[in-house]
Amino acid sequence: MLLGPSLALSAVLFGIGVIGVLVRRNAIVIFMCVELMLNAVNLSFVALSQYHGVGGRVMVFFVMTVAAAEAAVGLAIMIAVFRHLESVDLKNINLLHG
């Protein structure tokens, strides 16, 4: 019923996430944007599961689990980076510069 608006919202949220990752410099904000993209996809899964069975809803839980694990590892890395550089600004993190 609400499939169209739900998918539209999901697409908008995903777009905001992508643009956020591309334009922001602060690693925490980028991280939040990644979460936003994951959740936008979750929304699509839930909306589509009304027509395609429970598979989509099951997948949502997997995504949330992965997101949690990713958040744990990602934040730990960020703390380590901050301890080292006293900044989480991506401008300063360019050790792989060619």
């Binding site: 992508v18 990752v21 591309l22 980028i30 991506l90 993190i93 360019n94 792989l96 510069h97 060619g98």
Partner: protein, 698 residues
């Protein structure tokens, strides 16, 4: 080892004693025995010189000393023992071959060596009349020279190494004469070249010796290229390198006197000129005298240098089919004979005289095989092996005595210069008598050398009917015979007669060599006197045994060439002419040398006039140096090194490819900004591109 017998030769006649039946194992044993000697002696040579690992130095030193003490005995027994054994085996082969019911070649296939598509080469050994004769000469004369070496090299620190090389040489020489195809023969061909190089440079501490070795090796390579091109051409024509197949099928495949057969034989002959020291590749042989004297006797007189003659005789059919080639072979032979003999007239180093004499005698052999008288060429090869080995060993015995005498009085005079000798007959009666026998034989007195040389010259005269240029060859041959007699008499007179020029202090120390050295000389002396019996002509009561023995090998070739001996009065006139030339040369050489006062080498004046040209060997070495060696070195330095190597190989290829990689890497590294945002942007763009492809494709 897989032993299969091919051909009908495996059957022996009835009622032959069992032990006389030719056994296949004997064939490979002849090669394996000297090879085993090489391995044992080589191991001992390394054990004596190398450090003993993982042991305290004192103990290691004692072990080394022990090896040294017993090494000498082991090396002597092994080094000469394997050769004597190989000689006995060769005799058995010779006897066994007589009792086979056919007289065709007996081929022993050991294993398949190179099976590549149509190119099939077996490691196979072939026993036939020609290889048996060579086998007996190589192992027989080789044994005597090995025995002589025991005395000659006794005090040399490289004793084991010397015998290792000598045994290896014999092994390769036997591969050369027993090989049943061009390629197996080529193994031996290259192997004897290697051993020749190793033994010329045996005393490598002296740079001149190792240079002489390198010169011999390099000059031989030029000939080997010819040999290889000939092999390529033969293979592309008949698709095989086996002697039996090639000699049977090639005559049917190409026209007589055609361009192809002429080219093949000329390239084969180029190989022969390298190994057998003929014009233009003879220059290495005089320098090869830098090696120990028994080596000169074995390799550079009796065996290896005759490999070219053997090659021409082996492929006689091909040469017979190419009249231009065989005329050139005979011509090069006789011109070399004359040229080398003239150079021998004014040499003072006793070994150099013998070296030029060897080149000259090899020239006679090529005159023989080029004329089509293959049996006569091989006959001269055999008698030459006897008398020239005797001459070289006699010279070795003289040098041995001179060297010891000068060593006793701490003199640094040249022990090989004949100007320092003279009157040696009092100190060395045995050597004097035996050397005179050999000198008379080579000069053309009716000992072994006379019969073989006379036969070659008679055949050359006989060919004059068909091709008048052979009359010229005959005249050149007679002139060479005169010169030969002259320089041999000069050598004998300078060395053994007249007043002693050794120096009053050194003279009492001159003495005859020990029996282990004179013994082989005596045996060679007997062979030199009676060696001519194997092919005694009819007028001397013989019946050309060697010629009829070799008939299965030479028959096909003689169908084309029809060599003919002059008969009746002509024959006796030719013999008389040869004897007169020899006598005149001998008497003139002796009288002129004894009559003149010879100054010892140290005070000798500069040569003058034409003698100077002869003394400097017509400046051929200098000519080659100016025309070939120097331009080649300049070309290599200026163009190949500075141009091709530095500019093209290093500049374009090595540095160029590195530069391209670096350039591409620099472009690629621009993408590695280290900015996460940039990576993400690319990632997103990529994801979008894949999405579009999927949606568009779906």
């Amino acid at each position: 080892m897989l032993l299969t017998l091919a051909g009908p030769a495996a059957q022996a006649l009835e009622a032959v004693p069992r032990w006389l039946v030719l056994h296949p194992h004997w064939v490979w044993l002849t090669v394996a025995l000297p090879l085993a000697g090489f391995l044992i002696n080589g191991k001992l040579a390394i054990a004596a010189s190398g450090p003993v690992p993982l042991l305290p130095p004192k103990l290691a030193q004692r072990i080394t000393e022990m090896v040294r003490r017993y090494q000498h005995g082991i090396v002597t027994v092994v080094g000469t023992g394997v050769l004597l054994a190989a000689f006995v085996v060769s005799l058995m082969l010779f006897l066994g071959f007589q009792f086979l019911d056919t007289q065709s070649a007996y081929v022993l296939r050991l294993w398949s060596w190179i099976p590549v598509g149509r190119f099939q080469v077996d490691m196979a050994l072939q026993v036939d009349q020609l290889s048996l004769v060579m086998l007996l000469v190589v192992t027989g004369v080789g044994s005597l020279i090995h025995l002589f070496s025991v005395g000659y090299m006794r005090e040399d620190p490289g004793y084991a190494r010397y015998f290792a090389y000598l045994n290896l040489f014999i092994a390769f020489m036997l591969v050369l004469v027993l090989g049943s195809s061009f390629l197996v023969m080529f193994i031996g061909w290259e192997g004897v070249g290697l051993c020749s190089y190793l033994l010329i440079g045996f005393w490598f501490e002296d740079k001149a010796n190792s240079d002489a070795g390198k010169k011999a090796f390099l000059v031989n390579r030029i000939g080997d290229v010819g040999f290889m091109i000939a092999m390529f051409m033969i293979w592309t024509t008949v698709g095989s390198l086996d002697f039996s197949t090639v000699l049977r099928e090639l005559p049917a495949a190409v026209p007589v006197g055609g361009a192809l057969i002429t080219a093949i034989t000329m390239f084969l002959f180029l190989g022969a000129t390298g190994k057998s020291a003929q014009i233009p590749l003879y220059v290495w042989l005089p320098d090869a005298m830098a090696g120990p004297t028994p080596v000169s006797a074995l390799i550079h007189a009796a065996t290896m240098v005759t490999a070219g003659v053997y090659l021409v005789a082996r492929t006689g059919v091909l040469f017979a089919m190419a009249p231009i080639s065989s005329t050139i072979v005979a011509g090069v032979g006789v011109v070399t004979a004359l040229f080398a003999a003239s150079m021998a007239l004014r040499q003072y180093d006793i070994k150099k005289v013998l070296a030029y004499s060897t080149i000259s005698q090899l020239g006679y052999m090529f005159l023989g095989v080029g004329t089509g008288a293959f049996a006569a060429g091989i006959f001269h090869l055999i008698t030459h092996a006897f008398f020239k080995a005797l001459l070289f060993l006699g010279a070795g015995s003289v040098i041995h005595a001179m060297h010891h005498a000068y060593h006793e009085v701490h003199s640094s005079e040249d022990a090989q210069d004949m100007r320092n000798m003279g009157g040696l007959r009092k100190a060395m009666p045995w050597t004097t008598v035996l050397m005179w026998i050999a000198a008379l034989a080579i000069a053309g007195m009716p000992l072994s050398g006379f019969f073989s040389k006379d036969e070659i010259l008679a055949y050359a005269f006989g060919r004059g009917h068909d091709n008048p240029v052979f009359y010229l060859y005959y005249v050149l041959g007679i002139v060479t015979a005169l010169m030969t007699a002259f320089y041999m008499a000069r050598l004998m007179a300078m060395t053994f007669h007249g007043k002693s020029r050794t120096g009053a202090d050194a003279e009492p120390y001159l003495h005859e060599a020990p029996w282990i050295m004179t013994g082989p000389l005596v045996v060679l002396g007997i062979l030199t006197v009676f060696g001519g019996m194997i092919n005694l002509p009819t007028w001397a009561g013989g019946h050309h045994w060697l010629q009829s023995w070799l008939l299965p090998i030479t028959a096909t070739a003689e169908m084309y060439l029809r060599p003919e001996l002059p008969h009746g009065t002509t024959e006796y006139v030719l013999i008389g002419l040869a004897l007169t030339a020899a006598l005149v040369g001998l008497v003139a050489g002796y009288r002129l040398t004894v009559g003149q006062t010879i100054v010892p080498a140290r005070d000798a004046p500069e040569e003058r006039g034409f003698w100077k040209v002869l003394y400097h060997k017509y400046y051929v070495d200098e000519l080659y140096d100016a025309v070939i060696v120097r331009p080649l070195i300049l070309f290599s330095q200026r163009f190949l090194w500075k141009g091709v190597d530095t500019r093209v190989v290093d500049g374009v290829f090595v540095n160029g490819s590195a530069g391209i990689s670096r350039f591409l890497g620099q472009i690629g590294s621009r993408f590695q900004t280290g900015q996460l945002g940039f990576y993400v942007l690319l990632f997103v763009l990529g994801a979008l591109w894949i999405l579009r492809a999927m949606v568009g494709g779906g």
